[in-house]
């Protein structure tokens, strides 16, 4: 098939892209010493670069193998005035710090919640989950995941052992959350902001992690973090790091990205290194079993599930590709992620549902509806799933998971808004967050 649509423009675009590609600044593979430390271990390819950023995650949607949300573009936190007792941090006015190194009481987060606070919609929190070396963080606002880091992060041990602590920021026009890892001896964490102020947070430990401590705090609207320091009781900086970004070329007034992954570097004179983190092993490839199948425009699709897993782990394979979803720590009864996949002009709806959901009803813009029965997604029956091809030319307006008694277990949010983007040929899928009614 020829694509010589316009030879002159094609040639011009090739030249411009080649030139542009060469101009993109690519980070070096070395740690600054000039030595290429790329090496393949028997576990994985490990790039020995202490400054490697941890991976910010985003909400599992159209085609995700992701567990928790990340780019915090939807963070919408209320003002911190009147913070409740669960608040682990203290917001301060510009230029002052509310917590000095001696002000913080030792706190162990038995439930993994290292920081939290109120919002108009219910509150925000930063939670640590998993056990070393499989440790991740999950940020949620009003019950919905909005950020975090994955528990299969490969470089945690090299980073922690070498004294590079994850420092993450999820930012939006309304609010931001800064959180990360710190040395155990930290007495207080100071986060500097672009308005010249300092916000402080007390360290928190979790029972499952003896190596490091954690912190988290929220920032007022319009205030962006510029760096962080973990201070000991004497006020010495055990670790410090910057949170920076640059506007894209030609858009000098652009705001910061939704999520920034950075790090704090420990002072080796004050922190005993290495810390003794354990190199994690790569998990074995997931074995999935077919649980449903169908066709769309004559193209077959298959839904597979890791039946022996400890949580729903699904993959939809169709003629042109595959999508996978693995829900995060939030129970399916409280939240799920559903998807629509476009195969030519047909849509396939699929996703995990809680154990008591027996069918998924999809209502269309003409008022008609179809029911898709659910199937077991885990061998013990603790999770189910659905998948089905939608009628030709029909546009969903509502997607609901029903129990046997007809009650609604989960319903998709913003269906019409997400489906609207599928009308042209630029999108081949859409994702939905599904939550209980009300």
């Amino acid at each position: 098939m020829t694509t010589d649509l316009d030879p002159e423009r094609e040639a011009a675009l090739r030249r411009r892209l080649a030139s542009f590609g060469e101009a993109i600044v690519v980070p070096p593979t070395t740690d600054g010493s000039g030595e290429d430390r790329t090496e393949a271990t028997d576990l994985a390819l490990v790039r020995e670069r202490p400054h490697r950023q941890r991976r910010p995650l985003v909400l599992a949607a159209a085609a995700a193998t992701v567990t928790v949300a990340g780019a915090a573009g939807v963070l919408a936190l209320a003002d911190r005035d009147g913070a409740d007792d669960t608040e682990a941090t203290t917001a301060t006015s510009a230029g002052t710090a509310s917590a000095a190194p001696g002000d913080c009481e030792p706190r162990v987060a038995e439930d993994g919640v290292i920081a939290s606070g109120p919002t108009e919609g219910g509150g925000w929190e930063v939670r640590v989950y998993g056990e070393p070396p499989h440790v991740g963080t999950a940020v949620s606002v009003d019950g919905a995941p909005t950020g975090g880091t994955m528990s299969d992060e490969m470089s945690r041990a090299p980073l922690v052992n070498n004294g590079a602590f994850a420092l993450n920021a999820g930012l939006s026009d309304e609010r931001g959350i800064v959180y990360g890892e710190i040395p155990r001896a930290t007495a207080v964490v100071e986060v500097t902001t672009d308005e010249g102020g300092v916000q402080s947070a007390c360290p928190v430990t979790v029972p499952t992690d003896e190596l490091i401590a954690w912190f988290g705090l929220s920032l007022p609207p319009g205030v962006h973090p510029t760096g962080a320091r973990a201070l000991d009781t004497a006020g010495q900086a055990l670790a410090s790091g910057e949170i920076g970004w640059e506007p894209p070329p030609g858009i000098p007034d652009a705001g910061p990205p939704g999520a920034i992954g950075a790090h704090m570097t420990a002072d080796p004179a004050l922190v005993d290194l290495p810390l003794g983190g354990t190199e994690m092993e790569l998990p074995p490839p997931v074995q999935r079993t077919e649980i449903a199948s169908g066709t769309a425009e004559g193209s077959p699709w298959t839904l597979r599930a890791a039946l022996d897993s400890d949580r729903a782990d699904l993959e939809l394979e169709y003629e042109y590709g595959a999508q996978a979803v693995q829900p995060g720590p939030t129970p399916l009864a409280e939240q799920s992620q559903w998807s629509l996949v476009k195969v030519d002009d047909r849509l396939i709806a699929w996703g995990p549902v809680p154990a008591d959901a027996t069918s998924v009803a999809i209502t269309f813009d003409d008022g008609t509806a179809i029911d898709i029965p659910t199937v077991a997604a885990l061998a013990d029956g603790s999770a189910r799933a659905f998948a089905g091809t939608l009628p030709v030319g029909m546009s969903p307006t509502a997607i609901e998971a029903h129990r046997a008694d007809g009650s609604v277990a989960l319903q998709a949010v913003d269906v019409a808004e997400n489906v609207a983007g599928l009308a042209g040929d630029d999108l081949d899928g859409a994702g939905f967050v599904a939550v209980p009614p009300g």
Partner: protein
């Protein structure tokens, strides 16, 4: 620009593949997601995926490219979904202000249209391969290229 022939099988070790393909993969990913930092994460994940399957891969470099493209597309879609609005302005740090005009248009294109253009005119992939990577029919790719070139008309015609 030097490119590795992904069908030549001349990457006997994953370290070699990493050294030869990391930078080109990063540039491709940067074009697709508009952010070198995110691109670095995606490419690193793609290499880890290749490492996991190394012994069973006939064409590691081809698998790597598929993993990079899939990772980029997933990232962009997730951003679009979570924000419930058009994609954020991509962030690409370049030391070449003369590219601003091209990037200014390219960055605002829908994800699939931009991907088709980059894979065709930067990676020099055939339409059939682009269709496989994007999960659509070849005819759809041609449509995306037509529309993408039209979107870039002003910038490119200025060149000519």
């Amino acid at each position: 620009m030097s490119r590795l022939d992904v069908t030549s099988g001349d990457e006997s070790r994953i370290e070699d593949l990493y050294r030869q393909r990391r930078e080109p993969s990063l540039r491709l990913a940067a074009f697709l997601v508009g952010d070198v930092t995110v691109a670095e994460e995606i490419v690193q994940d793609a290499f880890l995926e290749v490492a996991r399957r190394w012994t069973g891969l006939d064409n590691p470099a081809g698998y790597l490219r598929t993993a990079v493209v899939n990772g980029c597309r997933s990232h962009v879609r997730r951003l679009a979904t979570i924000r419930h609005r058009p994609l954020p302005q991509p962030r690409l740090h370049v030391d070449a202000p003369e590219h601003d005009e091209l990037w200014g248009v390219l960055a605002r294109l829908p994800e699939r249209r931009r991907s088709a253009l980059v894979l065709r005119y930067y990676e020099d992939l055939p339409v059939a391969e682009i269709a496989r990577l994007l999960g659509c029919r070849p005819g759809t790719v041609s449509s995306l290229l037509h529309r993408g070139l039209a979107d870039l008309r002003k910038v490119l015609d200025h060149d000519n």
